[in-house]
Point group: C2
Chain length 455, copies 2
């Protein structure tokens, strides 16, 4: 099942070259192997070898590398290098990426690196990294073209020509026109093709352009880009000053990152990221943080069972159905959690619409509860030849399915209203409550039916 033993592993070859080869050999090797092998190989190096690689590349190549590897590894590289070298690498990254990495560095490392950057670059990076990740300010780039409205078409062309190299990596299709820093219009560069050089750009620009405030949220940005076929939207501060551009691609990328991290959180990867190249004890500690909360909640839920030991002693078969009720309620409830999370993200439900969601879930839960109840009742009856055991197990399953979808549908909305993270907390809350209800239902029904049922 494992990799072909004879196969040369690219990360082993790369490691040998980093430790023993020349700089040019390392660079040639990276140019030669397929693109996806580069990411894989670099991610498999030890942290110190990866930092040594970043040291041996030109700042440009090192910046490209840092941009492509997972953020956790990029941060580690920047922490290990001399601040001067980290600053040189950071300055070659797009401004939104700079801000993300600086935000993840420890305070002292970030300050050391910022002090090695140009004053202007450091100020900009500080400003950008002060925004939350999921608002326009945190997603915007600073690489855009802006001209005062008094410029002529000819002056703009001259500037474009004179800075062709600097602007090469800008995604340039529009330039933004300002008066005293305030956004006044958008200039399609294409329109310059048809203009006389002397004409002022204020006459060519599209006036009153749409813009968004710095704290405009990710979900609102998605709605904005669904509504408008734009490539990007300018971001303005409270005084109407242009401070950056958010691209459609940045919004889509942030949405994908949030989906990924939500998925990891629902499965109990609390930090939102774990790579198997991370140190063993870090991985273990992070996973245990989640597991130890869960084992506490599990013991709490199972304590309901402890109250009914006499009932179980009388009808041992109940022990078989306890885990089934627990698992199936978790499954039903998690379906409802997933639909609520999805509808919240799409803006198809508001966090205050608890009643609407509950009514929708109760109807599905009733149908599915009856179906599952009949199934498990039939299985119990067949197995023990005792129809009353079937009725008890089936009724507990049916009622608990309705409870599970009610809790599962509503909990994400309530957590969102409380400004808590529904991805992280919905699951444990759901399973603890439904386990307690399920154990209580099955065992109290069985206790009540005992006089009729005891074998």
């Amino acid at each position: 099942m494992s990799a072909d033993p004879g196969e040369t592993r690219p990360w082993e070859a790369l490691e040998r070259l980093i430790l023993a080869g020349s700089r040019s050999e390392v660079r040639e090797f990276l140019d030669r192997i397929p693109v996806d092998d580069v990411v894989l190989a670099v991610s498999r190096l030890t942290d110190s070898t990866r930092a040594r690689l970043a040291e041996r590349l030109t700042p440009e190549r090192a910046a490209e590398l840092v941009e492509n590897i997972p953020d956790a590894q990029a941060v580690d590289v920047l922490e290990r290098l001399e601040p001067e070298r980290s600053a040189a690498i950071l300055e070659r990254l797009p401004s939104d990426e700079q801000a993300d990495l600086l935000g993840d560095l420890s305070r002292s490392d970030a300050d050391a690196i910022l002090s090695e950057m140009s004053a202007e670059g450091a100020d900009q990076a500080r400003a950008l990294s002060s925004y939350p990740d999921d608002v326009a300010g945190g997603l915007m780039i600073r690489e855009y073209l802006t001209y005062p409205e008094s410029y002529s078409a000819g002056q703009v062309l001259e500037n474009l020509r004179g800075n062709a190299d600097k602007y090469r990596d800008f995604v340039v299709q529009y330039a933004y026109v300002t008066r005293n820093g305030r956004l006044r219009g958008v200039l399609r560069l294409r329109d310059l093709l048809f203009e006389t050089p002397g004409r002022e750009i204020r006459e060519i620009m599209l006036p009153e352009p749409l813009s968004v405030p710095e704290l405009f949220g990710l979900d609102d940005l998605r709605v904005f880009f669904e509504r408008h076929p734009f490539f990007g939207v300018p971001v303005v501060d409270s005084q109407g000053r242009l401070v950056g551009i958010v691209t459609r691609a940045a919004v889509e990328a942030a949405r994908a990152d949030r989906s990924d991290s939500d998925y990891l959180k629902t499965q109990g990867i609390v930090g939102g990221e774990e790579l198997r190249t991370m140190p063993l004890f870090l991985r273990s500690r992070r996973r245990l943080a989640w597991l130890s909360v869960n084992i506490g909640l599990n013991i709490l839920a199972a304590s309901v069972i402890a109250l009914y030991q006499e009932t179980i002693a009388a009808v041992i078969a109940l022990a078989v159905f306890l885990p089934i009720i627990s698992d199936m309620s978790g499954c039903s409830g998690n379906q409802a959690v997933a639909v609520s999370m999805r509808e919240l993200t799409l803006g198809l439900v508001r966090p205050n619409e608890v009643l609407r969601v509950w009514l929708k879930e109760v109807s599905v839960g009733t149908i599915n509860g009856i179906a599952l109840g009949v199934l498990i009742a039939g299985a119990a009856w067949l197995w023990k030849g005792n129809p009353l055991l079937g009725v008890v197990v089936g009724a507990a399953m049916a009622v608990n399915t309705i409870i599970a979808v009610s809790i599962g549908g509503v909990v994400p909305l309530v957590l969102r209203r409380l400004n808590m993270d529904p991805a992280l907390a919905s699951g444990p809350i759901l399973t603890t409550l439904t386990d307690m209800c399920g154990f209580f239902l099955l065992l109290s029904l069985a206790t009540a039916a005992m006089p009729l049922m005891a074998p």
Copy 2:
């Protein structure tokens, strides 16, 4: 907890206008309410009212609407309208969106609509909808500029000027230069600003541009865009002919959609989408499809318990620990599943590296298994005052944690190698196997310890 009863709900107001108001009243209403209210309001209409709304709008506005609502609702609208009207709406959508919706329509509806489209439009839509969604061909757009290499800069400018209206919605920054349909170069439109009109574009273009084949996969496209700061990449067929452009934004959007749908699938929403506006029986049936498989697997796993009824009868306390072992193994295993899914997506692990993943998981599992085992052993000892019960429960928990992370880490890789969907199948496989192992471990250890333990 529910919405303010006095609040006017935008979808109710919209519904009244659609049923009783004039066309212009409907349009004014949609222009007046906030953007995110439009999506919410339209999604809350009944299917027939939503179709009537699309009928009352101009094809342009209806196209905008269809683009913004969830795909399932958009498909329903297209199915309800006259094919002629659906065709008029579809023709105003970007080509990738056209292809997505046509692919989701029933064969007969799609054919009826295609027959009402222009021959050229229908051919293009048919060609695009034949690609899988997650390869370059399925993600590309056809709205791009292309010129033969013999064109002069002046001819290109003239064409741009003459078609300014048609090109308005194109995201135009580059034009693609072809010879007999084959991609030869990329022309930065900006470069035209500095050229004499008579110069041939083959001398201005960037030669030998990077391109990707039609079946280039989504993950490879992500790696491509991580490596290159491009806005888009041309797609060529096996003969080197230019067939479309994949934008960075389209790749990020597809990645986000896949993450969302993977998350829904891991939680048992099988179709990859459920909206609470869908018909009750459809929602119920889809969820039951998943639940009924799970209840079968649950009964299978619990049948292990049935083999040990005598042991449980002797030590009733074991019934309390069965659901705890089952739940905790699920938690530990799902963490490993999530990390494997994530590493597969990022290209940081190959599906054949089963041994590597297993070794990494066993080490974490050993530490966490011992920690959880000691915790639960302590709880058992405290509760019953029986240290041997603690040892039995703790040992079962420790060993089963190792088993759970091993299965959880490895199953997604194996499913991927078998070309099955790890998002959908990993969870049920994991919990069934770990439940069986956990029940067997706890109960067989207890049976072995019985002579020493019985109360």
